[in-house]
């Protein structure tokens, strides 16, 4: 079956409301539940068979997640680095060719537009992956710089391979030397007549890789992965499982844990990097960048909010909950919450009003939960914790173990 690909030049773009990813045929074969969701232009799978089993693949063996719908931009040209320095809050010069770095970018008010991953593909060529479409902002930022900005979302197929056996699977697949790849490194391999790029990073807080290839070779890549992974517990993983994995790892999601600044109608509904716990991504010493002045001011005067991790008593997920102080005064709201099968705790990310959220602070979380159609409410004691809920040493080990 031949599928159309999303293409902004096509006049009949509206005839396909949503497009199959280059991995669609393989996803379809694995998708026992036959349920599809959509992710931007593409069909995506919430759960192939059982979200929990897929979650455990990510923590116990390895899971494969189709990343293709991620928005991807390529930045190149003589001024690529200075351009990136203006765009990003972090010092991009520290991301050497062949390295990957996480970053956020802000508007002039120091409010986060989006977060994403920067791939320094080769000297002066970057790929930025993000959740939201950014072409307008990225082109605006070109002013004064000699750079080319193109969107390449649909030209690159990508898979995340995440979990403790992921390195072993890639080794078995014939990617020689992959075990030497350090966290946030990139490597290139010949793959059936094309180039396969592999980066060691992910959205699960565990050992994991992302694989990047041209869409024509997408199915071959999937097949080779699953052939190699069969004896190492490989499984297709849907977005429900990925969401669980990222919450445990303390990773934020645009539109969930913060509102992209370009979308915010109401005052006070955006967040600065400081307010998202991302101070480590703001480098004032690198010179000018969007939002610098505002962020400097915030640093002096203090922030309005703090994104924190909560360890909540009991076992009821605190989805959409209000957070209160011990004497039941409003302190903030939960942004993401779940029962963590790996931490064996009810965990949450929450946005609190300052001065709340110092590690160790004791709070109350108001949880509504339903049992046999009856709604119940608990005020569950909770603590602000400093560490992420899941952070195994194998995430950083090079070479990683086989499991």
């Amino acid at each position: 079956m031949a599928f159309n690909r999303p293409d902004s030049n096509r006049r009949d773009h509206f005839t396909d409301a949503v497009f199959p990813s280059p991995f669609h045929a393989r996803q379809n074969a694995h998708n026992q539940m036959r349920v599809w969701s959509r992710w931007s232009d593409y069909l995506s799978v919430p759960a192939y068979w059982c979200a929990e089993m897929e979650y455990f693949a990510g923590r116990n063996t390895c899971g494969v997640f189709d990343l293709t719908p991620m928005v991807k931009h390529r930045i190149s040209g003589p001024d690529a680095l200075p351009y990136m320095q203006r765009l990003m809050t972090r010092d991009v010069s520290k991301i050497k060719p062949g390295r990957v770095g996480y970053s956020v970018w802000c508007d002039d008010n120091g409010q986060v537009i989006d977060d994403g991953t920067i791939f320094h593909l080769e000297e002066g060529v970057y790929r930025i992956c993000s959740q939201e479409h950014q072409i307008d902002w990225f082109l605006t930022n070109r002013l004064g710089f000699d750079v080319t900005v193109t969107e390449e979302t649909h030209d690159v197929a990508s898979l995340a391979l995440q979990g403790p056996t992921s390195c072993a699977v890639l080794k078995d697949m014939g990617l020689g030397g992959i075990e030497q790849l350090t966290p946030f490194g990139m490597a290139w391999f010949d793959f059936e007549g094309t180039r396969l790029m592999v980066s060691r990073n992910g959205y699960t807080g565990d050992l994991g890789y992302e694989l990047w290839i041209d869409p024509e070779h997408a199915e071959a890549l999937w097949d080779r992965l699953f052939d190699a992974g069969e004896v190492r517990g490989i499984r297709a993983m849907g977005s429900d499982a990925l969401d669980m994995l990222r919450i445990e790892a303390g990773f934020i999601l645009a539109g969930q844990d913060f509102l992209p600044a370009m979308e915010a109608v109401r005052a006070g509904h955006t967040r600065s990097p400081f307010e998202l716990g991302l101070a480590w991504l703001v480098h004032f010493d690198k010179g000018v960048f969007n939002g610098r002045a505002a962020l400097l001011e915030e640093k002096e005067k203090g922030s309005r909010y703090r994104l924190v991790k909560l360890d909540i008593d009991g076992n009821k997920p605190a989805r959409d909950s209000f957070v209160f102080t011990k004497d039941e005064k409003y302190a903030g709201t939960v942004t993401s919450a779940m029962w963590s099968p790996s931490a064996k705790a009810s965990i949450a990310l929450a946005s609190l009003e300052m001065p709340h959220g110092e590690p160790g602070e004791e709070l109350l979380v108001e949880i509504y939960y339903r049992r046999e159609l009856k709604w119940n409410r608990v005020m569950a004691p909770a603590r602000v914790v400093k560490d992420v809920f899941w952070d195994p040493p194998r995430r950083r080990q090079t070479p990683p173990a086989d499991f």
Binding site: E52, G233, W339, K344, R371, D402, F403
Partner: protein
């Protein structure tokens, strides 16, 4: 080295470890003494063959109290419990009945055997869940003393009464019957398919010296259904790295809180002076002192093997001797060169990850029990087996497998005589032959097999007669009857002596509840702040 401790825990089974960890967490100076060179008791993974890992005794986890898991921070100490999802029963004719992760798939699978039964599963599930919800409230809680007028016991009796009343009239009647019925009779009230009944009945006899038609086995089923994995009631999982990972995490927690362990020499005597405990003497001659001594050993082993009978009352000793702790189980741990081929499961790979049972009918289960009564191992045994290596990549080299094979029934003695090595081998062969009938060529895949009868379980783990639960789980030995009336609150008959093993309430399985409850009682007696969770969170 100082030899005086605040408390000594005898036995590093998972309950001893739980107990010791809570005592250490409360600030006590705790010594753990274990007879084996290794820790874990029946929750253990020993290196046996090349780089294979085994779960030598217990093999799946569900009962472990989530409150203990969390409060001892076992996740931080590296414990991961991974659900495997589902089960399947394979009959001699090659028919199967699968229990899948997806409820609708399962319903259609049952409907293949009986459309009525597919519906009846809903009612059955509801009734089991009612009983689970009832019993779970009493697991992490000391059982009340119905004869005592102490305010605390009156309160606990009232709690028991209130919870019972909450069930509603019909369910109270059902509950009374449930605790005394046979699993066979119980299942007859719901189902008609022989294979489905057999599939459910297995959990009614695991570890029990009773048959599917014996009264009391309905409760044994409940004992296997009352746990959960991440809130999925009745689900079971593997401890990643084998069951020894549970003991390992607990031990790390214990050590982190300053606990010390001496392993490799059994306790020879629990030393009593002037009617109170003063410490322990090991077989190697070392002695350690403490005013609190906690035994993780079985009830009979504690009093009949490690104490001077003269220190104990005659009536008490008689009750200890009469404690029902009959061994009935065996186990094979097998290293496989590849994945066995079960023709009945071809095209159904998901079920290879599941808990596999080889059985057809209630009658066949009962005949397996007849052999046990006759003093021999079942010639046509009930087999409960899993291939953890399909789920857990840490167990074997890739493509190779570990198979855990649990067997009912295996008597503590063969025709009244001690097991001989030849008989142990013959028992193993019976089991291997049985599996080979369902998976032709299975025998040729075997690289190594560890064969365990009650003899091995008693010699290695110290499980009296090889009973896996440290005592039969029947009404006369449950709640305030466990191990015996009057001694159900973890206190022994001598001052300073405590019990924390599965012989105490709420019984066997990798649950940690006895160890935790005992720690709570000890800390209360010592007037220390409580570090032990109580009750049940989910309601």
């Amino acid at each position: 080295m100082s030899r005086k401790y605040d408390a000594i825990v005898i036995g590093a089974g998972h309950n001893g470890l739980t107990n010791a960890a809570y005592l250490a967490k409360a600030g006590l100076k705790v010594l753990m003494v274990e007879k084996n060179e290794w820790i874990g008791g029946a929750t253990v993974s020993l290196p046996m063959y090349k780089d294979w890992k085994y779960s030598n005794c217990s093999y799946v986890c569900s009962l472990l109290r989530p409150e203990v898991y969390r409060s001892l921070n076992l996740a931080k100490y590296g414990l991961q419990v991974v659900p495997y999802g589902g089960s399947v029963t394979i009959s001699q004719t090659g028919d199967i009945i699968g229990n899948y992760v997806d409820p609708d798939v399962t319903r259609r699978e049952v409907a293949r055997h009986s459309p009525r039964d597919a519906d009846a599963e809903v009612r059955y599930g509801r009734d089991i869940m009612r009983q689970c919800r009832f019993i779970r409230k009493f697991l992490l809680r000391t059982a009340p003393d119905p004869t005592s007028f102490k305010p605390r016991d009156l309160f606990e009796m009232l709690h028991l009464y209130k919870e019972t009343m909450k069930l509603g009239e019909d369910v109270i009647y059902d509950t009374m019957r449930f605790y005394t019925m046979s699993i066979s009779d119980f299942l007859d009230e719901y189902f008609e398919s022989p294979l489905l009944k057999a599939a459910h009945a297995g959990s009614g006899i695991i570890g029990s010296a009773l048959g599917v038609m014996s009264p009391g086995t309905a409760y044994v089923l409940l004992h296997h259904a009352m746990g959960d994995v991440d809130g999925n009631a009745g689900a079971w999982g593997f401890a990643r790295g084998g069951m020894g990972a549970i003991a390992g995490a607990m031990h790390d927690c214990f050590t982190d809180h300053g606990g010390e362990t001496v392993a490799g020499s059994p306790v020879h005597r629990i030393v009593v002076k002037n009617g109170r405990v003063t410490g322990v003497a090991l077989e190697n001659g070392d002695e350690y002192l403490a005013d609190v001594v906690v035994s993780n050993m079985t009830f009979p082993r504690t009093f009949l093997e490690c104490m001077d009978e003269k220190d104990l009352d005659a009536a008490f000793l008689k009750k200890v001797r009469n404690f029902k702790i009959r061994g009935s189980s065996g186990k094979l741990n097998i290293a496989l060169d590849g994945l066995p081929d079960f023709p009945a499961l071809r095209g159904n790979p998901e079920l290879m990850h599941a808990d596999m049972h080889l059985i057809d009918s209630i009658e066949r289960l009962e005949r397996a029990y007849d052999d046990w009564k006759n003093g021999i191992w079942s010639q046509d045994p009930y087999i409960d087996m899993l291939i953890p290596s399909l789920t857990d990549p840490t167990m074997t080299p890739p493509g190779k497998h570990f198979m855990s094979v649990f067997v009912q029934y295996v008597p503590p003695k063969v025709n009244g005589q001690d097991w001989t090595d030849e008989q142990v081998q013959a028992f193993g062969q019976t089991v291997i032959n049985q599996i080979d009938e369902y998976a032709p060529g299975f025998k040729d895949l075997i690289l190594h097999a560890e064969i365990r009868t009650p003899r091995e379980l008693e010699d290695e783990v110290g499980l009296t007669e090889g009973n896996i639960f440290q005592g039969e789980l029947t009404m006369d030995q449950l709640l305030f009857n466990r191990p015996i009336p009057g001694y159900h609150q973890y206190r022994g008959p001598v001052r300073g002596l405590w019990m924390c093993g599965s012989s105490t309430h709420p019984g066997g399985g990798v649950m940690s509840a006895p160890g935790a409850n005992a720690a709570r009682e000890i800390l209360a007696d010592l007037r220390k702040p409580n570090t032990v969770p109580e009750g049940w969170l989910d309601d």
